[in-house]
Symmetry: C2
Subunit: 199 residues, 2 copies
């Protein structure tokens, strides 16, 4: 019995995950390592959105259905969101600008990852806040410069994070979220986008 106990001390059995940070940790672990690891085709997703022009620079997007886990899925309701240009750019300021929505996408992606990763690592979070900003020179989109790009020249996101772990461990969680973030990958590495007009 003592030998067994020593063996246990040297290589302790990992504690089973428990719900934490509002994350159903057992379900996350089972989904990834129990289900998808054995059926990788379940990981193929397609997300979709429909957009409708309202007036001026104002348009509205609806997000509901998507494909994943080998079948059609749907959010529990239609989500809608608008975009517009601000008054200083001659818009009606009915909604955030398209480039602000990119900041939102990045912040929500990294923050969701932080919550999931912390839960799996047994860290209880108390607070996660971030500020994200991007610098853009509109000479590009105005067509007033041949050298200035259209998009942001750079972006920065700064987190404040509190939890029941040392600062270094909390930083490692943020870093792991960055390393596994879909939106961070899209924004930093770029992806092919096809723009077409239906005849």
């Amino acid at each position: 019995m003592q030998t067994a106990t020593v063996t246990m001390d040297v290589a302790p059995k990992k504690a089973p995950p428990i719900p934490r940070n509002g994350v159903d940790t057992p379900a996350v672990v089972e989904t990834i390592f129990g289900v998808v690891a054995n059926q990788p085709e379940l990981a193929k997703f397609q997300f979709r959105a429909s957009n409708q022009w309202m007036t001026g620079t104002h348009s509205r997007t609806t997000m509901k259905g998507f494909f994943g886990a080998s079948g059609e899925q749907a959010h529990h309701k239609d989500f809608t969101a608008d975009g517009d240009h601000p008054a200083v750019l001659c818009g009606a300021d009915q909604a955030p600008t398209p480039v602000e929505w990119v900041l939102h996408a990045l912040a929500t992606c990294l923050t969701a990852g932080i919550a999931n990763i912390a839960a799996v690592r047994g860290v209880t979070l108390h607070r996660v806040e971030s500020k994200v900003e991007g610098d853009i020179d509109l000479l590009g989109i105005f067509g007033l410069s041949k050298t200035v790009r259209n998009g942001y020249q750079n972006m920065r996101i700064t987190f404040e994070i509190e939890g029941d772990a040392p600062p270094e461990k909390l930083r490692e969680i943020v870093e792991q979220s960055r390393a596994r973030s879909a939106v961070y990958d899209v924004i930093t590495n770029g992806i092919p986008v096809e723009v077409s007009v239906k005849s």
Copy 2:
């Protein structure tokens, strides 16, 4: 008199822009070519967002202030939007996913550009709708593959556009919007993003 008339016919003076498509076309033209062309420093903008973790994978972003036109600016109100993971990915489905927000950013950017460009080109639009979709293999973000990327592998956006111009001219407007889109540039070419944790 006749000579003068003929000269006018050969090189007619461009008609002054008029408001169209809900766009204050004269203001857009004056802002870009009358003001910013002569004071390029006015084109330097910084957009910002603040995000707060709610619980689980759910977080909320606030967008209000930004810098541009040589000064601090603000939307007429705080805009807020949420992000979450869907139920099939163990989230609470309180909002669109971060990767859907990227689709929204692209659609609103291209659509705003279409409205502005059509207005400047004297084309009245009747309808602009688009569907955007992105394919993503979650083996990347799940850490189950070393070769699958985290982000979308590709995206497609398809427009339906109606206006008082021939199809070819409407297509050229969509193409010009693509060529001058900030979000299209960010998504296709990528930008440097700095992620940090405040001590």
